[in-house]
Subunit: 248 residues, 2 copies
Amino acid sequence: MGLLEAAPALDRGSSVPIFAQVKAAIGEAIESGEIQPHRRIPSERELSGLFGVSRMTIRQALVEMIGEGSLYTRSGKGTYVAERKIAQPLQRLTSFTQDMAARGLRPSSRLLGADLLPAPIELAHALSIPAGSELVRIRRLRLADGQHLAIETSHLPHARCPGVLQHDLEQHSLYELLRDRYALELAFAKQTIEAANPTEEERELLEMPPGVPVLRIHRFTSNRAGEVCEFVQSAYRGDRYQLNVNLE
Amino acid sequence: MGLLEAAPALDRGSSVPIFAQVKAAIGEAIESGEIQPHRRIPSERELSGLFGVSRMTIRQALVEMIGEGSLYTRSGKGTYVAERKIAQPLQRLTSFTQDMAARGLRPSSRLLGADLLPAPIELAHALSIPAGSELVRIRRLRLADGQHLAIETSHLPHARCPGVLQHDLEQHSLYELLRDRYALELAFAKQTIEAANPTEEERELLEMPPGVPVLRIHRFTSNRAGEVCEFVQSAYRGDRYQLNVNLE
DNA sequence: GAGTGGTCTAGACCACTGG
DNA sequence: CAGTGGTCTAGACCACTCC
């Protein structure tokens, strides 16, 4: 029973939109190998008939799958299955916790320090808050399978997460805490990445042998409205960490 | 004459689709400051009336702008202007030439070597070609405003770009050459990034002082169909290069 | 209850590809 | 020429928010 002959029945009553069900069905046909890479899928009009939905609804499914890189079109010819099963659909914003889980490593943290400080002027400007207003600073040692991996220092306007320092920041993901307790959902980030030598303090905290560089990352994170809500400085051991990035 | 009262006239005869013209008009209203960040734009039904096009066409414009991060919606409330003018719409695939131009630096190259070699087995597998088949290898020193910046080694299946070595690879962008002469348009890439120490050879070629690390990037590039077409190894001077990445 | 975005329909015309 | 994806229309119903 394949997509090419008889499409699976859709659940019209479901809260899952029709186009999402179509997407899932086509995605399964691809993953199951029923339609091989570089083979044509049925035309939009054929799919419309097979699923019993309008062509516009089919298109909504296809356009999203094209955006995710699993299909591509040749105008006037048809829609084809793309090859790359390689990676995540796009470059996604991930927390340290998610990042490690995706690599199959057990993440843990040690709190190095957490305090309030008046916002320095450049940082205040980037975060769109008054200079000198309260900033939460959380400094953590990050471990993967118990091995020292990185030092991460987060800065957040205290007004956005009052009382955040009273939570257990070693056991819980900061991003989950912000989302669940403060309705602060972080959606975008802008990072700069460079290779550098560690400071003396970083070298000691990460127990690094001499001569090993660090991957230094500065990250501004913002919510869906585009308001910058967090600034993070990280230093990852160069001998233990590789960053993966997908481009388009 | 603003978007909020009277929308600009659309050119129905133009080859530019209506939704793209609507997108441009709304984009201008945002950039001109007519609609400030976090202010509501007219509802989809209002825009439909203002522009004299159907609501679905308006939605096509809005959905794209939401995907690009310049608008966001609150269901049941309205569509709002996002804040982030910060960066490029998404993480885009760029060549060295484009990358430098975006930074306002003058890119140049020195060819260090260009040859054919039989594909080693792992690379052949990644590029989906037979092991031992011909691979083009191009090694270039990259400069920005005349300063040594990086060493880049590209590997391409010779079958995809026969005779590519006869072109002037110092003066021309390889990606433009591939696109214009070989109809090979590279669209996606998967990179791994790490901080490392340079090899002795890299240190000499880049004229690096001792103790400075490099940003080492491995990149697999593919076309729109998802076929991996290129493998690039790069080493950027850690003291002169920062990588910018946007996440979502 | 009125207005909003989210979803869906059943048509239509266009430019482009192939035989 | 018939078939394809790309664009566009004029409606419709739903869940949600705010008053």
